[in-house]
């Protein structure tokens, strides 16, 4: 039976892995509404709608959107909306818009993509009128609760009121359990899905004489790019010929400083944020993809590289070992250990091409088996079904 699902993401342009989920669910015939705090756009599919709760940046858009929601969905609600506009509290107005929208849409469930958005939903969660499912992914689950006590307290008070959890890896599910756990907790691991047809496996791979490394990640410390640079300095000492491209690292002063300190300017190429297509292009030109992260759910870039047939070396951050068996589908090194990373890269340069070929193919198979779009949609549907069964009881 098709469901009416609200995906609450916050931004108008959700990251690609959330878009894949929404589009996949819509294709299955579910009615998907993306709630966000951006401007208005028209939706691409009949049963996939983008609904703005009013912009967080643009007050005029916020006011117009609030009035539009009131007129369109519940004319009698206009008075209360007007009052909130006059009082001028953005968050309250957005909450009001949410309330009006929920009352009219009457969704089967609300799927929140980031814990930070739970605050906006607090009243809805307390009323328990709609089941709320939370995705456990990234920094807000595996780092912030453990370095910020008041945030930890907040999550641990909200978690028992949620109807279900989606975890992007077993590792992050365990992190979530540290925040709150109970025998009755409904928590399913559903791995991110790729449209594997659009990730063409590179049949002709050959390693360059001068090793071409690539790493992809925004300039945030949790990406561990500093460790990647320390590892590069070690490689130079070991006379390994290489160059490295850091996609998305531009603006990171620490990386610039370390590159300069180790005199690596000739070998390190730091690029800004690039369109997805360009990133895949650069990835396929590389000999080896490096993930130096300190914490992750499961790095999407790793899944994508493996699908494309790029050999990978990753730290054992988050759920990486659920994806890669060391020396089988890629190579895994400890986090915060540049020497181990450098040693693994050096080891790779000496590998016979035949061995690399075996690993590349095993990696593709693993991704096909564990990260297909289909398993993601089925997994999510099964989680939703369980949540709804329980909420009926």
């Amino acid at each position: 039976m098709p469901l009416k699902i609200i995906i609450f993401e916050g931004s108008l342009q959700p990251p690609v892995f959330i878009r894949r989920l929404m589009e996949g669910l819509a294709e299955e015939g579910h009615h998907i509404y993306l709630l966000h705090f951006g401007g208005n756009i028209s939706s691409s599919k009949e049963n996939l709608k983008y609904l703005s709760l009013g912009s967080s940046q643009n007050n005029i858009q916020l006011i117009f959107q609030s009035l539009k929601i009131a007129f369109e969905y519940n004319i009698f609600a206009t008075f209360s909306t007007l009052k909130k506009i006059v009082l001028g509290n953005r968050k309250n107005l957005q909450k009001r818009n949410l309330e009006v929208l929920l009352n009219e849409l009457e969704p089967d469930l609300i799927h929140v993509q980031w814990p930070v958005l739970l605050e906006v939903l607090e009243e809805v969660i307390n009323e328990r009128k709609y089941p709320v499912v939370l995705s456990q992914r990234g920094y807000q689950i595996n780092v912030k609760p453990f370095v910020n006590n008041s945030y930890f307290q907040k999550l641990s008070s909200i978690f028992p009121k949620l109807s279900g959890f989606h975890s992007v890896s077993k590792a992050i599910s365990q992190e979530g359990d540290k925040i709150w756990n109970s025998p009755a907790k409904l928590d399913e691991v559903v791995y991110t899905g790729l449209d594997l047809q659009s990730f063409q496996f590179q049949e002709n791979y050959s390693r360059n004489e001068k090793l071409k490394l690539i790493t992809v990640g925004r300039p945030h410390w949790k990406k561990g790019l500093h460790d990647a640079i320390h590892a590069c300095a070690i490689l130079v000492k070991k006379d390994v010929e290489f160059e490295i491209t850091i996609v998305g690292g531009k603006g990171n002063e620490e990386i610039l400083f370390l590159t300069n300190m180790y005199h690596l300017e000739e070998r390190v190429n730091i690029l800004g944020k690039l369109p997805q297509k360009k990133v895949y292009e650069l990835m396929t030109e590389a000999d080896l993809l490096i993930v130096s992260s300190l914490e992750e759910g499961i790095p999407n870039v790793l899944v994508e590289a493996m699908a494309l047939g790029i050999p990978v070396i990753s730290t054992s951050c988050g759920g990486v070992e659920e994806l890669i068996d060391h020396a089988r589908e890629g190579w895994v090194v400890p986090t915060r250990d540049p020497a181990a990373l450098a040693a693994q890269i050096e080891f790779f340069t000496a590998l016979p091409e035949g061995s690399i070929e075996i690993v590349r193919r095993a990696a593709r198979e693993k991704v096909e088996e564990q990260h297909s779009n289909d398993q993601m949609i089925r997994g999510m549907e099964s989680l939703y079904k369980k949540v709804l069964q329980r909420s009926k009881v």
Partner: protein, 390 residues
């Protein structure tokens, strides 16, 4: 003689360098004015001139702009010169008008020297000193020279041409500036930071006698301070079964603070590594005094005041041999330098110090105290600055 010092904001109580510089100059008979963006703390050691306000309301901004331009009528010659200098550099008219507004407080200044407290403060303001008939001086700090030009290559080109005299807090920074294009023939002086003995407690402890070893580091929570190396070294000390507590005095932005707290959490070092947050200068001094060893894990430093103060307290100091630190610590005499940025080597050095006999420790301590007194006093600093301007 009047010295105009340009800073983003007046020095707070912890910024001893500028406070002691201002006081020192006043004692030598100089008049000092400060030129800042704001004076929210109500600084009153000397007159403070602030930038005109910036308003989001366009009507209000037009009013401020007119008012500010009218206020410049008395300094018309300065403004005229400023426009012609900027035109020569190819600045567009609209940008010149904006610069006039933002720097109107300086264009009205009657000073003999306009001294920019940081090199980055002088960017986009290279022509002001000449326009108001003053000489232009600048002080180099760590970030200006170590980091900023990496992100903005060539940013100091015009500035190197215009500056009349350069002050660096260490030879390291001066050399690095020359490497970045500062002409060798530009007059330059190295004036190290100084320690005011009045600010130090009378009874200082010099020996290691805490039951549990107490290490201290004074640093913002920032990558350049080498916090990850610090935490990795703490992990090694724990593996060696050394009982210790490592205090970190200093705050950072939220993202950086989470970075180091997470590292500590991950390694289960919460009992060993303690974040004290931002402390007053007096509290910082007190904490250094109570510790056994002072450690600086920075990847670079212009000079590092805290290391100098720790030595003045007779504390044994360990730091990496980077930036201006070899000028700050005389290796194996006033303290110890570790030659590569390695947590292992740092941990080994700490354990070596723990094995020092008491006599060796007091030799270090006495030498360090005397060396600071003889070479880094505020008196010497203010004499040097007097010479700098004359």
């Amino acid at each position: 003689m009047t010295i105009g010092i340009v800073l983003a904001k007046p020095p707070g109580y912890t910024e001893t360098f500028f406070r002691s510089k201002i006081k020192g100059l006043q004692e030598k008979g100089f008049k000092v004015n400060l030129y800042c963006q704001e004076n929210e703390i109500g600084f009153d050691l000397c007159p403070v001139y602030t930038r005109p306000p910036l308003s989001k309301n366009p009507a209000l901004q037009i009013f401020h702009t007119l008012f500010t331009y009218i206020g410049l009528v008395g300094s018309l010659n300065n403004v005229r010169r400023f426009i012609s200098f900027e035109k020569k550099e190819g600045t567009t008219l609209s940008k010149i008008l904006k610069k006039i507004y933002l720097n109107s407080h300086m264009l009205k200044a009657e000073v003999d020297w306009l001294h920019f407290g940081f090199a980055t403060m002088a960017l986009e303001r290279e022509c002001i000193a000449e326009a108001i008939g003053a000489k232009m001086a600048v002080s180099f700090r760590g970030f200006d020279i170590d980091v900023y030009p990496l992100k903005n290559p060539g940013c100091y080109q015009l500035f190197w041409k215009k500056v009349d005299k350069v002050h660096a807090i260490s030879e390291y920074l001066l050399n690095k500036a020359m490497h970045l294009g500062l002409p060798k023939e530009k007059p330059a002086e190295i004036i190290h930071p100084a320690v005011n003995p009045v600010m130090l407690p009378k009874f200082s402890r010099s020996r290691i006698k805490n039951d549990k070893l107490k290490l201290i580091t004074v640093a913002r929570l920032h990558w350049i301070k080498g916090m990850d190396i610090l935490i990795a070294a703490a992990e090694i000390l724990r593996e060696k079964n050394i009982e210790f507590e490592w205090l970190i005095a200093g705050a950072g932005d939220k993202k950086e603070e989470e970075r180091y707290r997470f590292h500590v959490y991950e390694k289960k070092l919460e009992k060993h590594v303690v974040f004290l947050g931002a402390l007053s200068h007096a509290q910082t001094i007190q904490n250094i005094n109570d510790a056994d060893i002072y450690v600086q894990t920075s990847l670079s430093e212009g000079f590092c005041n805290a290391v100098l103060e720790a030595q003045a307290l007779g504390k044994i100091c360990i730091a990496f041999s980077v930036g201006g630190l070899p000028e700050n610590i005389e290796n194996e005499k006033s303290g110890l330098l570790v030659d590569s940025l390695s947590a292992e080597k740092l941990a080994i050095k700490i354990t070596e110090v723990l094995a020092f006999p008491a006599s060796k420790l007091s030799n270090y301590s006495e030498y360090a105290v005397r060396r600071v007194k003889d070479n880094f006093s505020t008196d010497m600093q203010s004499t040097s600055f007097q010479r700098f301007y004359e």
